[in-house]
Amino acid sequence: MQRLFSDFRRPSGQRPGAIWWSFIAVATVVVFALPQVLDLAQLLDLSVVFVLALLALSMSFLWGYVGILSFGQTAFFGLGGYVYAVAAMNWGDTTLPFLLGILVPLAFAALLGVFMVYGKISDIYFSVMTLVITLILNKAMRATSGDQYVIGDVRLNGQNGIPGVPPLQVPWNPTVTLFIDHVYYLSAALIVLVYVGLRLLLTTSFGRVLVGIRENERRIELLGYDARRYKFAAFALSGGVAGLSGTMFAIWGNFVAPEMFGLGQAAEVIIWVIVGGKSTLIGPIVGTGIIQYLTSWLGTQGVGQVTLVLGVVLVVFVLLFKEGLVPTLGSLIARLFGGRRKQGEAE
């Protein structure tokens, strides 16, 4: 039981046990069975939760494991969406644009990483700079409403965004495009794969060092590891995951707009991650779901100040559940079932 709880509190470099795999299997079955009972509108809502949860995962991976708070995950998110939109609309085909929607943000994050990680910028300036970068991109995209801002045949359209982003085609049969339920299955598969992939990454030599950096960066350096190399790689990887999220967002909504880079979007990701719990990877997924549903529920209740309510939720969580929802519940259940034994005894 302890291993399951450790994954819900503060995963280490240990291999997840059979219980964790069972949890993944059950969750996968449930997620893939839901289309049998949900209608298309509900599937559409749930798809975007999975898509945005990828963005939350990209932040919590970096923040929870390497200790870097990147406000600018939305820069890679927006970039992924725009790259996919522009490339797919120009080329007609969507397979290569889909890959570019991941690779271009990854490369952009790598480039920024060279300056910021190797430039020995302190953590607080790292956060500020990433925020500034996403705001610059937001501003730049808003300023592209003129006729001269065209890439190939696609007008960037400034703050109106780009409508009519093509749906994803089946790579081996481009005449078939993905419909709402297919996008749901793809989003569900991606969130499961990325979550499992990032969790298993922690069990590799690379991942164990990331966990070590989270715990004590000085000791990692004194053991001979160049922490900057690992931070750089983690930052680039998180850029790629955020890019994937942006690409899927463009596919889900058939639309991209400068708001993808905006302050509101950047702040929302932080709320998802804090509410869910940044020390786990499952927490931000849960946080995204709760906040997204809370936001739309508040909308249906006629609450005008949704942002204000979200702010209160954030304050409550920061003050009362410092670790976030999932780690707090994980600790509670572990205490109920496991006495005083802790994660290390699971091995």
Partner: protein, 244 residues
């Protein structure tokens, strides 16, 4: 590199570190021969821990040079110095609190060995340091002495050529101190060691040559008996006289 070629496995020349006008290390010339087990003593604030931090690249010197195994490492980052073969146990336990003792050792061993070698090395350290009783527990939950053992184990797991230990017996009971002393003597058969200590019994048990630090400078350097019977050293420790 300037001047004469470096002597010994570790040498510092006119090493200085100034913190806001305070000369924490003030012109230290230090030579350590390969295979030595050297003790550094001195009152609190004498500059011993700062000296260790300089040698391991945790802080950069204000002036002077540091040579390890013939290479100048004065401006090297700590991971580069570690790769050359320097391991350190800091004064306060400097471990991965959120990981188990075994994971701590594994992180240390995997850098220096392949997978099978790292596994072997971890088991060997666990057996040698008798960590078996708490190897699966989170290090943050262990007693101070046990955390010290884990940190010493991490340093050993990398098999460095030079080990720096800052107060290895602090927080340990008498029995553990004897064990630590025996362990250091055993380690010294293959590794050069420098130990910062306050416990004179412990120092007598392990040391041959002792270097006394005072106000950032080397005050004395001689055989342990000579140093400990030196009136000036005794006065510095007891704080009775000012030493220029």
């Amino acid at each position: 590199m300037t001047g004469a070629s470096p002597k010994g496995i570790l040498e510092t020349r006119d090493l200085r570190k100034v913190f806001g006008g305070v000369h924490a290390v003030d012109g230290v010339d230090f030579v350590l021969k390969e295979g030595e087990l050297r003790c550094l003593i001195g009152p609190n604030g004498a500059g011993k821990s700062t000296f260790f931090k300089l040698v391991t690249g945790q802080i950069q010197p204000s002036d002077g040079q540091i040579f390890f195994d013939g290479h100048e490492v004065s401006a090297h980052a700590s991971h580069e110095i570690a790769r050359l073969g320097v391991g350190i146990k800091n004064q306060k336990p400097d471990v991965f609190d959120g990981l188990s003792a075994r994971e701590n050792l594994w992180l240390a061993a995997q850098f220096a060995h392949d997978k099978a070698g790292a596994r072997r090395q971890v088991e060997e350290v666990i057996e040698r340091l008798q960590l078996g009783g708490f190897v699966h527990r989170l290090v943050g939950e262990l007693a101070h002495g046990q955390r010290q053992w884990v940190e010493i184990g991490m340093v050993m797991a990398r098999e460095p050529r030079l080990i720096l230990l800052d107060e290895p017996s602090a927080g340990m009971g008498q029995e553990e101190r004897v064990r630590t002393a025996e362990l250091l003597k055993e380690l010294n058969r293959t590794t050069t060691i420098v130990v910062v200590e306050h416990d004179m019994q412990f120092i007598k048990r392990i040391a041959d040559i002792v270097t006394v630090f005072h106000r950032g400078k080397v005050l004395r350097e001689a055989k342990v008996d000579v140093v400990l019977s030196d009136p000036e050293v005794r006065d510095v420790y007891l704080g009775r006289t000012e030493v220029a």
